[in-house]
């Protein structure tokens, strides 16, 4: 359960609206089900009170929405940022993607978000309502009535290995300042590295072949904000949704991950939105892990203006041949 409630956020938003500090609010709107919360721009107090929600399913990272939203109208946009969202926020500022002055950022604490797929694994389908109660979530299903699940057991994968509870950017902070957590986020990558080549290939073949090329991972990625992109062009053949060959999905995912290498803040949105539940964040984390081990620790978005590793170099860099061995876990 979250420490902060929707009512507290609504109150804050309404007071800022009334004071004229902001003109609109970027927040979470209740969807058709309790678990499908949608990003939405609220313009007045009534709509906020009616539809604004904040619960264990508000995973959406709003940073990317700011790029389009700040240009739409005059006045500041209020945005609620969880700790991991603030990294993306900083990264976008570093890349000059939106005007800092057009945003009023409120940092909110986060206890981790729940993964609806994990809940469904326990309770089965047919969920009609979800209510958070302490460290439990009460799930009402149309088939078996009410069930209780532990919040900790249904925590989203990216939140289990949360990298930081500390906000790196905000105008105002609600609740307490957290700390950078010592997470085991690279463990899964290391496990894969320890496998043989054939096992790794089999793993990724089985994962990536599930891809339906919906492009959701690209659309949601806060590091992926070019306005002219081959994926925005309906004339381009890459818009084809159907995969005609297994090569294509590998190429798509390698290039997608490579495009954001060094700029990915590891927010985990790609895996959250994947309708096929492909662990896409592992590809990004592999790049982050390699960057850390080859060129020294680097966290994208930790500070505004930092130089991304791929647009930088030193004369003493590791050679690609050694790098591949080191990336495999061997100390070359």
């Amino acid at each position: 359960m979250q420490k902060i409630t929707a009512d507290m956020l609504i109150e804050k938003a309404v007071s800022l609206l009334e004071a004229g500090t902001i003109s609109r609010v970027l927040g979470w709107k209740k969807g058709e089900f309790d678990y499908d919360v949608t990003p939405y721009v609220f313009a007045d107090a009534e709509s906020l009170k009616k539809d604004f929600v904040f619960d264990d399913f508000c995973g959406a990272n709003f940073s990317k929405y700011l790029v389009a939203e700040t240009r739409k109208a005059e006045g500041k946009v209020l945005v609620f940022l969880k700790p991991c969202d603030t990294y993306s926020f900083n990264q976008l500022l570093t890349e000059h993607r939106f005007d800092r002055e057009a945003v009023y950022a409120v940092g909110i604490p986060c206890e981790g978000m729940a993964d609806i797929n994990k809940i469904k694994e326990i309770t089965g389908d047919g969920i009609s309502s979800l209510t958070s109660k302490g460290d439990k979530i009460v799930v009402d299903t149309i088939y078996d009535g009410e069930k209780e699940v532990d919040f900790a057991s249904v925590l989203a994968e990216r939140c289990v290995s949360c990298k930081s509870k500390k906000h790196v950017a905000y105008d105002e902070l609600m609740g307490d300042e957290g700390d950078i957590t010592d997470s085991a986020r690279f463990d899964e990558v290391a496990q894969l590295e320890a496998m043989t080549e054939d096992e790794r290939f089999a793993f990724w073949q089985s994962q990536l072949s599930k891809c339906i090329r919906c492009n959701a991972c690209r659309d949601i990625c806060p590091a992926c904000t070019c306005e002219k992109c081959v994926f925005e062009n309906p004339e381009s053949p890459v818009e084809n949704k159907a995969i005609s060959d297994s090569f294509e999905e590998k190429m798509f995912h390698i290039i997608r991950a490579f495009h954001v290498a060094g700029r990915c803040t590891d927010c985990g949105e790609c895996s959250r939105v994947c309708p096929q539940n492909i662990p896409l964040h592992l590809l990004n984390r592999k790049f982050i892990k390699d960057i850390n081990s080859f060129y020294g620790e680097y966290q994208a978005g930790a500070e505004v203006g930092s130089r991304a590793p791929l647009v930088d170099y030193t004369t003493e860099d590791i050679e690609p041949g050694e790098a591949v061995m080191k990336g495999e876990g061997e100390n070359a």
Partner: protein, 145 residues
């Protein structure tokens, strides 16, 4: 790649205009033999090589891809090959992570004076790729005739 029912490794070598391509030229002038399956693509600088080019080469039937550039510090454009080094370190490590044989990709620094090194590198690389067999993991069946 299959030629007349026989496997012959197809190697794509990206060579920078200023050092490695001249190195290949020197190898030719000196009558140093290297396998005819090596297809050289001249690029202005090794950092011109987009990761996409490498995947594209594999898609079109290459069995191995090698990138040759000036030695670090000797780049005609001062720093191009330093960027190549970082990019290719990450890309090749990623390809290996996805289970694509690491012997299929290589970066080698060859200067304009190293004709012998160019020939030796190509001989050795072709042999290594030949031992691996055909590239099955990054092939695109639509591109096979």
């Amino acid at each position: 790649m299959q030629v007349n029912g026989e496997y012959k490794p197809l190697i794509v070598a990206f060579c920078c205009n200023w050092c490695s391509y001249a190195g290949a030229d020197l190898a030719g002038n000196n009558r140093l033999a290297y396998p005819e399956n090596v297809k050289i693509i001249k690029v202005p600088c090794s950092c011109r090589v987009n990761p996409m080019f490498i995947l594209r080469a594999f898609q079109r039937g290459a069995d191995g891809v090698i990138i040759c550039g000036c030695h670090p510090g000797d780049c005609h454009y001062t720093s191009g090959n330093y960027y190549t080094r970082r990019r290719m370190s990450l890309l090749f490590s990623m390809l290996n992570f996805l289970g694509i044989e690491k012997e299929r990709t290589r970066v080698e620094w060859v200067s304009a004076a190293e004709g012998a090194k160019f020939a030796a590198t190509m001989n050795e690389f072709t042999e290594a790729v030949a031992a691996l067999g055909e590239n099955k993991r990054l092939e695109d069946l639509r591109c096979k005739r």
